[in-house]
Amino acid sequence: MHDHDDHAPETAAAEPPGFYEVLETAVRELLVEQGLFEAAEIHRQIDVLDSRTPALGAMVIARAWTDAAFRARLLADGRSACEELGISFYDDTGLIVLENTARVHNLIVCTLCSCYPRPVLGLPPDWYKLKPYRARAVSEPRKVLAEFGTVLPDDVEIRVSDSTAVVRYLVLPLRPAGTENFTEAQLAALVTRDAMIGVVPVRLPEPGDLP
């Protein structure tokens, strides 16, 4: 006989849904019953959200580092260049790609809420949505960067771009020295979410770093 005891983790950990979770269910079900959309659309969109990770953005950056013509197209029209690589803009936002150089470092923020290049990076981390980053990125970006361990020389200009509902930004980081012989895939593996937000540079792994 199979023993269904009370140690089953799926029941032991289960808490009843809270008020806001129930509210979400109520609103969604009523809208579906009115025929405004189908329940399957929610499931499909969850799949879309799950398919978007910083790996997509990293693929874009690695291509830009290795293909000058693509890089030019990316800087001219971020969205259409990403679409060339098969990345759809499900939220119908524009994308401006900001190129870091030896003299200019870019940082992205959304001071009003949480606008973010979701089609290419997925959903933003909590810290991007919380007050300290949103409030301070525009007024003291060097201090903010230092809190991420990024200290830039004083002669490097820092440009902060504030996202909107319809225009999103992505940072094209500097390609690290010593990667001249890297393949596109090896380059993409170096590019992190935070580098594409602009809070850290892309670094080569240090000896002893965990893979």
């Binding site: 289960a14 009843p16 849904p17 806001y20 979770e21 129930v22 509210l23 979400e24 269910t25 109520a26 609103v27 969604r28 079900e29 009523l30 809208l31 009115q34 405004l36 959309f37 659309e41 929610i42 499931h43 969109q45 969850i46 879309v48 959200l49 499900y90 939220d91 119908d92 923020v109 001071t111 009003l112 809420c113 949480s114 606008c115 959903l123 981390p125 909590d126 810290w127 949505k129 919380l130 007050k131 300290p132 980053y133 949103r134 409030a135 301070r136 990125a137 525009v138 007024s139 903010v144 809190e147 991420f148 504030d162 509902a165 319809v166």
Partner: protein, 112 residues
């Protein structure tokens, strides 16, 4: 500057440039209902029922106390409900009734 002036010049969302504490690099994987709420937001936008800017203003209209005390997706779902009431797409009484029904079904084990 008077003590109330910033209430008029800065709405709750408008925090760019204000003093704030150090950044804590926190993150959490979305709870299943939070992900459903995000997908709901996208689907409402696709169908031109609530767009991103309406959502942002809906969150702002919750006022400073709710903005401060509710979590991110809690703010979203309350804002969606309010906007749907304003647009006469949903009636508050229908939502209240459905909440009672869902809570009853949860207690009775009829849904999880």
């Amino acid at each position: 500057m008077t003590s109330t002036e910033t209430l008029a010049t800065r709405l709750p969302n408008d925090i760019g440039g204000v003093a704030a504490e150090a950044i804590s690099q926190i993150d959490h994987p979305l709870l299943p209902w939070e992900k459903r709420c995000h997908a709901l937001a996208d689907v409402l936008d696709f169908h031109k029922i609530i767009n991103t800017e309406e959502k942002r203003r809906g969150v702002e209209a919750l006022g400073a106390e709710m903005v401060a005390k509710l979590t991110y997706y809690e703010r979203w779902i309350v804002a969606f409900a309010n906007i749907l009431f304003q647009k006469c797409i949903l009636a508050p009484s229908d939502v209240a009734q459905r909440i009672r029904t869902i809570e009853h079904e949860l207690r009775a084990g009829l849904r999880s």
